[in-house]
């Protein structure tokens, strides 16, 4: 384990990236079922950053952002967020709900559709983690919030200082929309995640060695 808590080892990063991709693949399947068209989701990179750094990564105070937020409790606890520039929000919704809806419909449906879409993606990611780590968690219903980066990463608790930051690419109906998935956790939760992650890696190595 590296000395700096915020530094993931290569293998840890690979493992997390792998887990995230499995999660979003599940989400894509769910969306495809819902939308009736091919939906591609991928997580190209993973990093652990401070809340301040995370706020910078999403553009600081410049763009208006929209986020679907859920809390989770279990072996590790925190807040999960799917974040988009607000400008892309309607596009995402239109791609989900279909072009037969007028602009007025899309606006009407935005809140619900965003919440459900975010719910699907965040659930999938967290469930995948829980599944792979063979742990059970409790996840809240989604809520939609709007604001800038700083607001998005306001700490729920004093020591919730680290952010597992994942980039996410959506490709729905030939449209590419880039967003972020962020998991805010306090240090104990993070330590727990790394511990569990370590077990997972060991398991995988054991399986591959035995296999």
């Amino acid at each position: 384990m590296p000395a700096d808590i915020s530094e993931l080892s290569d293998i840890e990063r690979d493992a997390l990236s792998e887990i995230a991709n499995i999660g979003v693949s599940r989400a894509a399947a769910s969306l495809r079922q819902m939308v009736g068209e091919q939906v591609l989701l991928s997580v190209p990179s993973v990093k652990i950053v401070s809340r301040r750094e995370a706020a910078e990564l999403v553009g600081g105070s410049a763009p208006r952002l929209v986020a679907v937020r859920q809390t989770f409790e279990g072996p590790f606890s925190g807040r999960a967020m799917l974040i988009f520039p607000e400008a892309h929000s309607l596009e995402l919704v239109r791609s989900i709900v279909g072009p037969e809806h007028s602009l007025e419909d899309v606006i009407d449906l935005e809140q619900e559709a965003l919440a459900e879409t975010g719910n699907i993606i965040l659930n999938a990611c967290l469930a995948t983690i829980a599944n792979l780590l063979r742990k059970t968690m409790r996840m809240s219903l989604p809520s939609v919030v709007r604001g800038d980066g700083a607001m998005m990463f306001e700490a729920p608790a004093e020591d919730a200082d680290l952010v597992l930051f994942l980039y996410i690419d959506f490709t729905v109906k030939h449209r590419d929309i880039r967003g972020f998935i962020a998991l805010l956790m306090d240090l104990p939760s993070f330590m727990a995640l790394r511990e569990i992650l370590g077990d997972f890696i060991a398991d995988v190595e054991k399986q591959s060695n035995s296999g």
Binding site: M34, V35, G36, G74, I96, V97, E100, E112, E116, N123
Partner: protein, 779 residues
């Protein structure tokens, strides 16, 4: 505290509650769910949810329920994105709802809660609104004049509106299921790409050449919109027929181009004005002519370059036309920037709208400078020509009249001269014969009186012939420089006797007046004539004034016609008599014209005076005012003072018995009568005479040894003249004196100096004197 069953609360809930155990078996099913599904709690409990609603098999339900049970995740499923439960509302309609799926734990077991919320009311409200919107949409689409066509991606026409029939001629049923290509003109090269765009369905507007059912090609502006419904994509296109518009636009553009080209090609200056006369266009020729950008002359500014002298009239005419609507037509000068100007004809006609109102004025300005100049030149040349013709005609008439006059005078002169000459010879014979007869007849008084009468008659005849010759300017003038101051005293005395005591004569002569070249005798005769005329004009007496002055003839003087410039002496003879009328004055100088009674005058007086003046190189004018008197002015050329000869001594009475008596004389004359008479007179004088009838005959005589002291020859002879003969004789016998007898002044100048002359007719006395002078000159 009363006991409370949770189940009753669940039953009362206005949301649906379904609880599943870890195997998805229904363990709770509240009244709301029973009511909306039509499945009672009893029949639902213990059954698998998917078994109750097989339609949920392929939805997200199994996954979210599983996630909730396995991983504790909470999910929301909305009616907009999911097919949910088959629920029916109180009104038997589908009940729209959202579902929340949550994990719940009770003891060690995991359960899953499905919470179902009715959203029908709000959604229905939205749908009503949307349907109303759709109704509006259809109302618009069906009544649209533009054709609206919806096709699938396979190009098959799925729907058209009513306007399609009008645009293409096909009934909607004919078009449904047809390929969209039916309506596109493939003769147009652009057709395919348009088709591609139609199928590509990018939302835009394109120009499409369409084909109507009757084969006609029509132009459309087509707006395209691509949309999807379910799994199908559609393209809705709106076709606006722009055929007429395009034709109109292109016709208008062509017409405008044609007009503009015409306006710009015209050599004239062209302008257009609004109905109020405000100029809004000037063609390039205007700019080219004026040298100022045309826009500076728009509005009313063009009036500023109308020539100041023409502007008021032109502007007034323009306002009149604007007020009346009549054609504007005015000529004016138009100034250029370089301060030159030319004449233009301004013409403007009103253009009327359909309701007869004037909408524009269309005007031209044509350069008419050349016309105007040509017109002026023509007018000027016409005037010139006319005045020239008048003048020439007048001149010609004058010349003709002068010619006529000259010819008349010439004829009269010739006639008179010829008659006088012959008559002179005859008179010479008569006179000669009578004087000889008088000598030889016995002294009988009765006979002497008769002979004297005959001689006097013949002498008057001779005087008359002299006057005739003077008028004919053929008299023999003996021109010499005469001092008038010396001449006048004697002459004045003579004139006083002629005019009588009733007439006072006043002489005004300057002391230093120049001498003149005249024949003194003829001059005296001329003044006598004038004095007698003056006397006759003053029957009751009066004053005759003679004024003599030097006068230099230059330009612009009151002077006789054709008198050359030079120094003259002018002699005015003025009476205070009756004067002459213009008609009389005009004829005054004609020969034989007289105002005196028959037998009182010959009518030759004034013409004789004029003949003398002219022959002397001078002239004569007459001015007369009836009742006031007449002034005759004579001009004679000045002579040099040193040319005045001392008064010739009067030749002494010839003593015929003296030296010349007994001379041998050769007499040459072609007229035997004259010759015989002269010979008699010579023989009477004691000379011996040999007669020769011609010059050659005389020469033959002279070739002999015959000796002659004097030769007398007539001048005018056929063949050889007296002068020719004299010249020849002079060579043969230079010492013999020759006398030339002549009644004419036709001897060439100079001949008179060499040979003595005898004026015909001559008396015996004159003959004697001539002989004396000839023999004296030889000595």
């Amino acid at each position: 505290m009363a006991s409370f069953e949770v189940e009753s609360a669940l039953s009362a809930l206005d949301v649906g509650i379904i609880v599943l155990d870890a195997q998805s078996t229904i363990v709770e099913w509240n009244d709301w769910v029973a009511r909306t599904t039509g499945i009672s709690r009893q029949s639902a409990l213990g059954r698998n949810l998917i078994a109750v609603f097989p339609s949920l098999e392929n939805t997200r339900f199994p996954a979210v329920i599983s996630d909730a049970l396995l991983f504790g995740s909470s999910s929301i499923l909305t009616h907009t994105l999911n097919r949910l439960l088959p629920l029916t509302g109180d009104d038997a309609r589908d009940l729209l709802h959202n579902v929340v799926v949550r994990p719940i734990s009770s003891g060690q077991s995991a359960f899953c809660l499905l919470q179902i919320t009715d959203v029908t009311v709000s959604v229905t409200r939205e749908r009503v609104l949307r349907d109303r919107q759709n109704a509006r949409y259809h109302a618009i689409v069906d009544s649209a004049r533009d054709t609206i066509i919806t096709t699938g991606t396979d190009r098959k026409i799925q729907w058209v509106n009513a306007a399609a029939e009008q645009a293409f001629g096909y009934a909607p049923v004919e078009l449904l299921g047809q390929d969209i290509d039916l309506l596109i003109d493939h003769g147009q090269a652009a057709g395919e790409s348009h088709l591609g765009e139609l199928v590509g369905g990018n939302s835009s507007t394109i120009q499409v050449a369409g084909r109507r059912k009757n084969g006609e090609v029509a132009h459309f502006a087509v707006s395209l919109g691509r949309w999807k419904a379910g799994d199908h994509a559609f393209i809705t296109s709106i076709w606006r027929d722009v055929t007429e518009q395009m034709a109109a636009v292109s016709a208008l553009r062509e017409s405008e181009n044609r007009h503009r080209a015409l306006l710009e090609a015209l050599p004239q200056l062209v302008w257009t004005c609004g109905a109020d006369g405000n100029c809004d266009y000037l063609n390039p020729q205007w700019e080219h002519y004026t040298g100022v950008p045309a826009k500076q002359h728009l509005g009313w500014a063009w009036l500023d370059i109308i020539h100041t002298d023409d502007r008021e009239a032109l502007e007034a005419a323009w306002w009149r036309s604007l007020a009346s609507g009549n054609v504007f037509d005015a000529d004016a000068r138009l100034c250029r920037s370089n301060r030159t100007h030319r004449w233009f004809k301004f013409r403007s006609i009103p253009v009327h709208s359909a309701d007869e109102k004037i909408v524009r004025w269309f005007g031209t300005a044509t350069d008419i400078t050349d016309h105007i100049e040509a017109r002026d030149t023509l007018r000027r040349s016409n005037d010139d020509l006319e005045s020239l013709v008048v003048e020439r005609t007048r001149e010609r008439e004058v010349v003709l009249q002068q010619l006529h006059e000259a010819q008349k005078m010439e004829s009269i002169g010739q006639l008179t001269g010829g008659v006088a000459h012959d008559f002179n010879n005859l008179l010479a014979v008569v006179l000669g014969s009578l004087s000889l007869l008088k000598k030889n007849l016995p002294d009988d008084p009765r006979t002497s009186r008769l002979i004297e009468g005959a001689i006097q008659g013949a002498e008057r005849g001779a005087t008359l012939t002299k006057r005739l010759l003077a008028f004919a300017r053929r008299q023999e003038l003996k021109l010499e420089a005469i001092d008038l101051n010396a001449l006048f005293p004697d002459l004045l005395e003579f004139l006083r006797q002629s005019v009588g005591p009733n007439i006072a004569i006043s002489l005004d002569i300057s002391d230093d007046v120049h001498p003149v070249n005249i024949d003194a005798n003829q001059f005296e005769l001329a003044l006598m004539n004038l004095a007698v005329n003056a006397r006759d004009a003053m029957p009751k007496g009066g004053v005759l004034t003679i004024k003599v002055r030097d006068e230099v003839i230059g330009g612009g003087h009151d002077k006789p016609k054709d008198l050359p410039q030079g120094q003259y002496v002018r002699i005015d003879v003025a009476d205070t008599g009756t004067g002459m009328s213009e008609a009389t004055l005009a004829k005054a100088m004609e020969p034989f014209f007289t105002t005196k009674g028959v037998g009182k005058g010959t009518g030759l007086g004034l013409s004789m005076v004029q003949g003398l003046a002219a022959q002397s190189g001078g002239g004569l004018t007459i001015s007369s005012t009836p009742g006031k008197g007449t002034t005759i002015s004579l001009w004679f050329p000045c002579a040099r003072r040193e040319d005045i000869q001392t008064a010739p001594e009067k030749p002494a009475q010839i003593k015929v018995e003296d030296r010349s008596r007994g001379s041998r004389i050769l007499l040459v004359d072609d007229d035997p009568l004259v010759s015989m008479n002269t010979a008699y007179m010579l023989m009477d004088l004691g000379h011996s005479v040999l007669e020769a009838p011609s010059g050659p005959n005389a020469l033959r005589v002279l070739e002999t040894d015959a000796q002659f002291d004097v030769i007398i020859t007539d001048y005018a002879m056929p063949g050889m003249t007296g002068l020719d003969l004299a010249e020849k004789i002079k060579q043969l016998r230079p010492k013999i004196p020759i006398i030339i007898a002549t009644g004419y002044a036709e001897l060439p100048p100079g001949a008179t100096l060499e040979f003595p002359r005898l004026s015909k007719p001559y008396s015996q006395q004159e003959l004697c004197e001539a002989l004396e002078r000839a023999s004296r000159s030889l000595r």
